[in-house]
Subunit: 454 residues, 2 copies
């Protein structure tokens, strides 16, 4: 099918950590790369929670893909939404192209799919209407809008019951994102905002972190989980462990404790950080192979990250489950470092195949696991060495600055962090993104209650 | 009506340049100040065009009002939309409060209204649907989205006619904002983007600046207008002087030249920077006094900025026309410095009145007029001294850094500018703000044409 004279065409879907590493790993290969992403930028997701709490500006953690790749001559970037794969014709079908075109097919000789993950609501998709996520820049800005609007609303609210609901922040999910966002909201309430408001004391805000298992940060050693829990509690976060969310709506969360008692928490701000599943691309890819994704939506790949029966199709990152030769699922954490290593592996595998060689199976090299818990506190598990406190935080800081793309972004982020550290302020706490949309959303959530209470 | 024991209540509507100066000028006065603004931040509008072209991040030119005023104990900040004034009851009525409340009345002893201006479409309000403005952070981000989407669209567009339309950028209005945005788009196309795209040469982008009068920057001396015009043309901007916009829609602008010939420019990006009129608050204030606003929507005030018959009501900035004792309109430019001087004057007037003194009439001290024309070029008219080129640009730079609020913002902006100056890059060129909304807007604008051409 492919012309032996023409260069080998590699299509990479997704410009996240994995896809970008794959593209860069092919920079000296005799191939023509097409990188397709819905967005025109690479997003440094691990710092998205800082955008959600006004510590960083969106532009500081995102870099235009074209700017990153401008020196790589063998790549073209296409902005568009991949909806369908046709493995027989070796093409991907893109919709939502910037010029309005739909259903444009792009052919490949090798396909690399790196679409990432999204949040799942455990079969309760209706919860998504009421809860906020921290996944895209837009969703992080929606969280920022909601958090700061909640304090504004509490400031003018006369009814003490409603005021308490505005000052209650519920975070669902005790993984790194949930821990980080809960810690940041607590610091906002305790350190940044007290002098900003006169009618309310922002330090009375209640931050509730709900985790279904028995401890937060379940991917970390138990000792570090316990330390993180203590650090969060010192910041004023209330932990609800072994607690399930059984329902949530516009103005409350219903929970079930381990002993079966149900709780009802009135709140206007629910951040959902639980239940990660594969993105829609995994389903599309599974459909193209005639298989079913697993229960978290992931598509199965072999140890060399290729799809069974399609050695020319590689999938990687949070959207795949790697199966070894016996068919057993190889457990891998949902970390940026996994995706990055897999992206580099994919590029090596393509280069090897062009030389007629076979690749050894992918092996994840565990570089460690990090999570911050507020200002100057973190936990780190690096090759079995467990550290916490300021040293872990400095490690976290260094790693994140190092992996952030673009010297300018690094400088801007360091500037903001230095300011926040010294002044305990946050410069980026604007309520933006359609002021009216924000107001309407809040009216929607407040108005029905209004009628009931008065 | 007011209790002699209670402190004098000053309500300031609008946290822009004028309102903020009024609030700050009252920091040591024995008054209770309430500052009402729809937004929770002060926006440094003179740099908004840099957000629109990806040179600065929104958070860098906006500062939370509460952060600015946290040390001023006699002020409370209320986020809400003032819809109506009741001068007899001495109250303002607010809608869209963050907790969903509507129609909340706040009483005053002195009222200061500083609502600013908005764009007008010369009776063609339907044009607003198709043209973009640079007035709020959201609208600047919409411009950014449209500009960078246009280049993305051109890159994949196969049809040469449609590609040319994507690469045509029309700016309507040759005042400072129009000149600045046209210059910035030209620099983007010429310096920043050429290496980012492979299929198109971004330097072939056409930037058309349409001005109804005979020269750009009509508020400047003719010599500086001519210099700015030459600088713009060197950047590749096409000037259409003495040219009127007679119609515009989703994909074109129709113009009429001085000799009566009409032109038709196919384009996907129209930035409207012409025809400033007073904001809606001026109409509401005029209605409350039983008068009519003038033809640009402004409410008339006396030489001491008070409303006729209401010495307790002050209005200022772009939304007012100042009338001298003979009833003649005192011409004042629509500049931040006018609003700031009037804001400080208003605070002095309130303090004087509390001491039982009368204020002398407001007098504008002309500090000069500045406009940039791309990188390292500007024109300045300072107390009759006319400068242009690099010296003017350095003056512009210094003034803008100086007036930007917040030391952190200054540092971040300097960092970004230094980077842009050296690398000719722009860090903040993300296509954000509902990717799907952006895509849909472009689909809407492209789809009908699609049907005609293919």
């Amino acid at each position: 099918m492919s012309n032996p004279e023409a260069p080998h065409r590699v299509v990479v879907v997704g410009g996240g950590f994995g896809g970008l590493q794959a593209v860069r790993g092919l920079r000296r290969a005799p191939v023509e790369v097409t990188l397709i992403d819905r967005r025109n930028f690479h997003l440094f997701q691990p710092l998205l929670y800082q955008v959600a709490t006004g510590a960083l500006s969106p532009d500081e953690i995102a870099t235009p893909l074209r700017a990153i790749l401008k020196r790589q001559r063998n790549v073209r970037v296409v902005m568009g939404d991949v909806r369908r794969f046709d493995l027989d014709r070796r093409s991907v079908v893109i919709d939502e192209l910037p010029n309005g075109d739909q259903g444009v097919a792009i052919e490949y000789d090798t396909l690399i799919v790196a679409g990432g993950s999204r949040y799942s609501y455990f079969g309760h998709d209706e919860w998504q209407r009421f809860a906020l996520e921290i996944k895209s820049l837009e969703s992080a800005l929606a969280v920022r809008r909601r958090i700061f609007t909640a304090f504004e609303a509490a400031e003018i609210e006369q009814d003490p019951v409603r005021r308490e609901a505005w000052l209650t922040f519920v975070v669902v999910g005790g993984g790194p994102t949930g821990v980080e966002i809960a810690g940041q909201i607590a610091e906002l309430a305790r350190d940044t905002l007290p002098r900003d408001f006169h009618a309310i004391d922002s330090r009375h805000a209640r931050i509730l972190l709900i985790e279904a298992s028995g401890r937060i940060l379940p991917a970390f050693p138990a000792r570090l989980s316990a330390r993180a829990a203590r650090a969060l509690e010192r910041l004023g976060v209330t932990l609800a462990l072994d607690t399930e969310v059984v329902d949530l709506d516009q103005r409350s969360v219903c929970t079930r404790d381990p002993d079966g008692t149900t709780g009802h928490v009135p709140t206007q701000t629910i951040v959902w950080a639980a239940g990660v599943v594969a993105c829609e691309l995994a389903g599309a890819l599974a459909a193209a192979t005639g298989t079913e994704p697993d229960r978290t939506g992931r598509v199965a790949v072999r140890e060399d990250l290729t799809i069974q029966g399609h050695p020319e199709v590689i999938a990687l990152g949070d959207m795949v489950s790697v199966h070894d030769t016996t068919g057993k699922d190889v457990p891998l954490p949902g970390l940026a470092s996994v995706a990055m290593q897999q992206g580099r592996y994919a590029a090596r595998a393509v280069r090897a195949r062009l030389r007629g060689e076979r690749s050894p199976p992918f092996r994840y090299v565990d570089k460690g696991n990090l999570a911050t818990v507020g200002r100057a506190r973190a936990v780190a598990d690096i090759k079995g060495i467990q550290i916490s406190g300021t040293l872990a935080w400095m490690t976290w800081l260094t790693v994140h600055i190092f992996y952030l793309i673009g010297f300018q972004n690094r400088l801007l982020v360091i500037t903001r962090w230095a300011f926040s550290f010294v002044t305990r302020g946050r410069g980026a706490r604007l309520i933006t993104g359609s002021a009216h949309a924000a107001a309407e959303a809040d009216v929607v959530s407040a108005a029905p209650e209004r009628k009931n209470t008065g």
